[in-house]
């Protein structure tokens, strides 16, 4: 059953939590590949596969990081989404991951 429509605050929170969660995953090339795959799934409006791939990745880190756990909880709350909300949330998550890639590299340099 589709839940109530997503609002801007929800989207901002997901972006923030997503960035924080993925910042704890260090492998940047791995994240880049993930982004490519997610972009393709998002384009095809493939919600089920999008979240299953995302959760598969997050699952392997879930015990190590509190941010990842909280992000997964957040995703549970919103799933499943209407087609329109999926468009917003999927790209927000993708941009959250992309934002984490540069932060990680910058941290490395420091």
């Amino acid at each position: 059953m589709i839940k109530t429509a997503i609002n801007y605050q929800d989207i901002e929170r997901i972006k923030e939590e997503g960035t924080r969660a993925f910042e704890s995953i260090e492998k940047s090339s791995y994240k880049q590949k993930l982004v490519y795959k997610l972009l393709n799934l998002s384009k095809g409006n493939n919600q089920k596969e999008f979240f299953s791939l995302l959760l598969k990745v997050l699952n392997s880190y879930i015990d190590k990081n509190i941010h990842i756990r909280s992000f997964v909880e957040e995703l549970k709350e919103i799933y499943p989404l209407s087609e329109r909300d999926f468009e917003k949330i999927s790209y927000t998550i993708i941009m959250a991951i992309m934002s984490s890639i540069k932060t990680e590299e910058k941290n490395k340099e420091v």
Binding site: I11, Q32, Y36, K88, Y91, M98, K102
Partner: protein, 588 residues
């Protein structure tokens, strides 16, 4: 006592509008008439009338009125191409109608008519102390006689080549000069001064005296009692004995004089001189007489002057003709006035008064051209107005060479959306960019385009909200107050997102950039937001990711993903940012 009377007279002669459009156009006509004959502009005329007595103003007015009508009528007689019979001119003189000899004859005649009027007017100003009714009659008669003599002298040489085109094809120009009283005809005054049946040789002085009867005794015409204002004075007025379409029955001339404190004859009679004659069908559906009006004499005068100058300029330049409609000319003049004189126009109180012809009693068409308060507010902001005051090239149809020029302000005034125009303009820019014709392109300024986008976005959202909200709510008025600030704020956001994207792609190679722009633009045309974001993110992934991108992503989420109504505007600002990167930067 004398001083008091003089002050009263001075107050009385102050030239300002009355608030009634009919009289106000008369006042404008009076100003135009005095300027044409005495070469005094509005300021000079105001100064002069402030220092003159009623008799002096009456005298100046009478000479100007008759002088103008005699000049216009005689020039129209000269300019009639049918004056000459093609065959007779060939037979007796071996000349074509368009030969240089005939053209020289016409030009010389016109010049001499103009200079006679100037000389007589000069004579009047040099002998101002002896002004009285008889002297004025003498001056007007002398203008008339001298012009008649010129026409007779010039055209007599070609007597055998002339055609009978006057007085129902019974007289040539020469014969007409010999039988007519004053060379004067005006459709507005056929029932009063210049009735052709009465305007015969020998009756000139009687006709000229008519204006004094009117000025001093408020006599209009024989058939009606004195002081009754009717069609005899102006075709726009009610008439009991002649059927017409009228704009209102006004009180007697005496009452008007008391009410407005001015002699109404000057203004009612000058009414037709307020209008600009449009002889070209391209400006309007029909040839007609046109006048811009708002309730301020100086602004109305300035704007009409600009309209007239622009029409003359357009008339002589055929390339301009395609671009200018009378709507565009009028608004161009209004905007120019705003810019040049920083005029505080009340933009929501303007009218166009137009009359087509007086032949069929179809005399007037008054059109209100005010714009909504919201748009007036935008136009009165110097910065926004200047940014929207641009002409954009857009493609007309599929052919790249078929271009059209769109004036952004015109579209705004006409309540048309600006977004399609900017899309269309960018289509033209991008097509040429892909063809690698950047050097040949004249880029419009980025900030102009972003202001247009922002204005469209803000207006669209206000108008949409207005449909939902009560018009008397506090929010409704607050939006009107803030509209310019909101446009500037939105423009900053549009500009910022564009500059961030241009920074992300600053290292993209010159072959790749047009391809990316073109592909994003095609997606935007289709209106596919998901595909737009997808393509852009994939391309960003190919670039070096860095700290600044996070800002861009946040703006993408806010203005594209979470903005169902305005995302296209922001998407277009991204495309504009990419197209203009390396060129003009944010400059305001």
């Amino acid at each position: 006592m004398e001083v008091e009377l003089k002050t009263q007279e001075k107050e009385r002669n102050i030239l300002e509008f009355t608030g009634n459009w009919f009289f106000d156009l008369g006042i404008l006509g009076f100003v135009n008439l005095m300027e044409e004959i005495y070469e005094w502009d509005l300021e000079t005329l105001k100064e002069k009338t402030g220092n003159l007595t009623k008799n002096e103003i009456d005298a100046l007015f009478a000479v100007a009125f008759f002088g103008k009508i005699i000049k216009d009528t005689s020039l129209s007689w000269v300019r009639k191409p049918e004056n000459f019979s093609k065959t007779k001119l060939k037979k007796y003189f071996g000349l074509e109608i368009k030969s240089s000899e005939i053209e020289k004859l016409l030009k010389d005649t016109e010049k001499e008519i103009e200079s006679i009027l100037k000389e007589e007017v000069k004579k009047l100003s040099q002998s101002f102390d002896k002004i009285d009714q008889d002297y004025i009659i003498e001056i007007v008669s002398s203008i008339n006689e001298e012009i008649k003599n010129i026409l007779i002298t010039k055209f007599s040489k070609y007597k055998e080549g002339l055609k009978k085109i006057f007085a129902s094809n019974k007289k040539t120009i020469l014969e007409n000069c010999k039988t007519t009283g004053l060379i004067a005809y005006h459709t507005f005054f056929t029932n009063s001064f210049f009735n052709p049946a009465k305007n015969k040789k020998g009756r000139e002085k009687e006709i000229i005296r008519g204006i004094f009867k009117m000025l001093n005794n408020y006599f209009v015409r024989d058939e009606i009692p004195n002081d009754v204002v009717d069609k005899g004075l102006s075709l726009f007025l009610y008439s009991s004995s002649l059927r017409n379409e009228y704009y209102g029955k006004i009180v007697g001339l005496r009452d008007l004089d008391k009410f407005y404190g001015i002699n109404p004859v000057h203004y009612i009679v000058s009414f037709p001189f307020a209008f600009i004659y449009l002889r070209d069908r391209k400006y309007s559906n029909l040839t007609s007489n046109y006048c811009f009006y708002m309730n301020n004499l100086k602004l109305t005068y300035n704007i009409n002057k600009k309209i007239k100058a622009l029409i003359e300029k357009v008339d002589t330049n055929s390339a301009d003709r395609r671009r200018y409609t009378i709507f565009r000319i009028t608004w161009r003049s209004i905007i120019d006035e705003l810019i040049e004189n920083k005029s505080l126009l009340s933009l929501d109180n303007m009218y166009i008064i137009e009359y087509k012809s007086v032949k069929n009693q179809q005399i007037a068409g008054v059109e209100y051209i005010g714009i909504t308060k919201l748009r007036a507010k935008i136009l009165s902001d110097d910065n926004i107005r200047d940014k929207l005051n641009i002409i954009l090239k857009i493609k007309k149809g599929k052919n790249d060479k078929n271009l059209e020029y769109v004036w952004v302000l015109e579209e705004l005034i006409k309540h048309k959306p600006l977004f399609p125009i900017i899309m269309n303009h960018m289509n033209y820019i991008i097509t040429n960019l892909v063809k690698n014709q950047k050097k040949k392109l004249q880029f419009s300024s980025k900030s102009n385009l972003l202001y247009a986008l922002s204005t469209d976005l803000v207006l669209g959202s206000i108008e949409k909200e207005n449909e939902r909200e009560s018009v008397f709510s506090e929010e409704f008025f607050a939006k009107y107050l803030d509209v310019c600030e909101e446009i500037k704020r939105t423009k900053r956001n549009l500009s910022y997102i564009g500059s961030l994207v241009s920074n992300i792609f600053r290292k993209i190679n010159n072959d790749e950039r047009p391809k990316l722009i073109s592909s994003l633009f095609s997606i935007l045309i289709k209106g596919n937001r998901s595909s737009f974001v997808n393509t852009l993110l994939k391309q960003i992934l190919n670039q070096n990711l860095e700290e600044k991108n996070s800002n861009f992503f946040n703006l993408m989420i806010r203005f594209i993903l979470n903005n169902d109504e305005g995302w296209r505007h922001y998407a277009l600002s991204i495309i504009i940012g990419l197209t203009y990167s390396g060129g003009e930067e944010n400059n305001d």
